[in-house]
Symmetry: C2
């Protein structure tokens, strides 16, 4: 597929992504290369995986001056929790460590309206797949509010305020706007989008945190949601919203090189995969940047930039930049073979998963405290 | 305007209404001529002002067998409370006297989305114009729940359930359906319609009354809302709703013979009008069924069926059928002149308003108990 041939909307990502073009088209900004130390210490920022933003200066200022801010994210409670989801989870935990109040919306209304999934099924998946993994990855109870869209709060003032905002935002949107953002829409998708705009904005209501900076870290495909919420927030004069900030991360590639798809287990590593499954998946499916023959590889070297095993190390599993750089160099020079690179990835991933799965078992008992 | 030339949707009523044609077109049923005694005792039923229904048998059965049921109605908190509004208010009080639990939705979200009115303004008008008049007309605190769409309940389970239903209903509706029902729609109108469907259906949720028959008394122009709520209620399998019942009342004519318009004070009698205002309005504006000259009137007689003063007596102000029949006959025969008929109407209306306005003053202090 030609590099120019890709389409991007919140419902699907096709083809190879040209991030530069997206930055231009969406009117977002590239992140400064020199961020404050706390951000440099985070590999997602340091390695340019989180690469662009809107109004992120406001959040940097909060961190610098130790002012309060909110991080909001949502989870779609469908499919398995895989290493793609871990990219957002790591950001929740990172912002929590910086002092942010973390809001996590379980999009069970969207799952009902856009994917015909029952609320009961969403609840089960949210707990078993998502929230238990967040806890195991290090999410703390303090400064954290996880809620279901269908059941916002046990505090009626909060619930009323959240749904009221959804209803009031509708006046300030047009059908053309929804269409421009999403392509084909339905009443169910439209009302879910308005609820998502309330997810993004409601923490600033007096019933919640009051006027406060909010950052929403997303994959670049989610920007249309952000644009809608940002536009509506400035039109609705009944409230005095601070414009929402956002950051954009690159996609972690699927095993076979395309997008990770929750419905195709051969496209991802799940955080519940066994050592054996990881080994098989990496060996059998992981797209390789190596050459066709050993001789060619030794002579011409491999391409770590398109090698999925290398990218997994870069996105998540190799914290040490020097070690990562050496693997990069050795693979590119032909000194390291694909089988060796895959061996390192398998070892690193399985080392992580073994610990993680233990923590996840321990996390089960703590889940109830979170809702 | 020709009798066939009229259009009817929830937003406007134009021309003279052909009720027979509407019954056929909307697929509603005419009410049985012989209703149980409680209904015959109510002049709105007895005189055919409430003339048609859907599934009203279910409500008659509840009354007969003394089973619980709900009456739901909404109020649009705009303009002045006039005698047109009193038709619905009288039905609230009637159903309350029959043992129904009365739900009254203040449509402040709809006023915001369809009429750009602030929630504060809606709250003020709802209290000062509507709710105080309901109380003065006899609405009791017991078995009555008045709520604002923007602030459903102080009980979070109830609030969450009400807005959840609105959000879930969206999946079961199509844009074409909204268009067919309302003509041109906007996101604001659409979300308000879904909230109104939740108004109509939510009393049957387990967080409220549980599965229970519900009757919604409306003017015939409101039937599209009922159709939408009825259709959605049967499609959404997550709940087991009893199909909603409804009754339809004829329009009380505006002073000048057309529709009463809250924005045109010469089209209605407000329940806050002074004796002098009533006298002026009836004498100056009330459309008359009399002849052009006294001589002609004595000879040919007047037409009480199109005479607005007579209709006001019939709809609201003359309880006694025998007295009303005598006025009808005398006017039709030419024995009673228009000035005499208008005099009776003025006297009857002012007698009623004098008492009512006293009661309304007393009601002010009780309003807070209702919300």
């Amino acid at each position: 597929m030609n590099k120019e041939e890709f389409s991007l909307n919140p419902w699907e990502v096709v083809g190879e992504v040209n991030y530069e073009r997206l930055v231009k088209e969406f009117g977002i900004k590239l992140l400064a290369s020199k961020l404050p130390k706390q951000f440099q210490d985070n590999l997602l920022f340091r390695r340019g995986i989180i690469f662009a933003h809107r109004d992120f200066e406001r959040i940097l200022e909060c961190v610098e001056k130790k002012k309060k801010f909110v991080m909001l994210t949502g989870l779609m409670p469908t499919g398995r929790f895989h290493i793609g989801h871990a990219i957002i989870a790591k950001q929740m935990i990172f912002y929590q460590s910086l002092g942010a109040k973390v809001y996590i919306a379980v999009a069970d209304i969207e799952a009902y309206n856009a994917r015909s999934q029952s609320l009961e099924e969403s609840k089960k998946i949210a707990f078993e797949e998502y929230i238990s993994n967040y806890l195991a990855l290090g999410l703390k109870k303090e400064n954290c509010e996880i809620y279901f869209q269908s059941n916002r709060s046990k505090n009626s003032e909060k619930s009323n305020a959240y749904y009221r905002l959804q209803n009031l935002l509708a006046r300030h949107a047009t059908f053309n706007e929804f269409k421009a953002v999403y392509g084909e829409i339905s009443p169910g998708k439209m009302i879910s989008s308005l609820l998502q705009a309330s997810d993004i904005l409601h923490s600033q209501l007096k019933e919640f945190e009051g006027k406060i900076p909010v950052v929403v870290p997303v994959g670049i495909d989610q920007d249309p949601h952000l644009r809608l919420a940002r536009d509506l927030s400035q039109r609705i004069k009944d409230f005095d919203f601070i414009q929402v900030s956002s950051t954009y991360n690159k996609f972690i590639p699927g095993l076979k090189g395309g997008k990770m798809s929750s419905s195709d287990p051969t496209s991802f590593i799940s955080l519940a995969d066994s050592s054996k499954e990881v080994e098989t998946k990496i060996k059998k499916y992981a797209f390789s940047g190596g050459r066709d023959t050993l001789e060619e590889h030794r002579k011409l070297g491999g391409n770590p930039d398109i090698d999925v095993s290398f990218q997994y190390l870069r996105f998540l599993f190799e914290e040490d930049d020097k070690v990562l750089q050496k693997i990069y160099n050795d693979y590119k020079s032909g000194k390291m073979l694909t089988s060796e690179l895959k061996g390192i990835a398998i070892e690193k991933i399985n080392f992580f998963l073994k610990e993680h799965q233990k923590k996840k078992e321990q996390a089960r008992s703590k889940i109830k405290d979170f809702i």
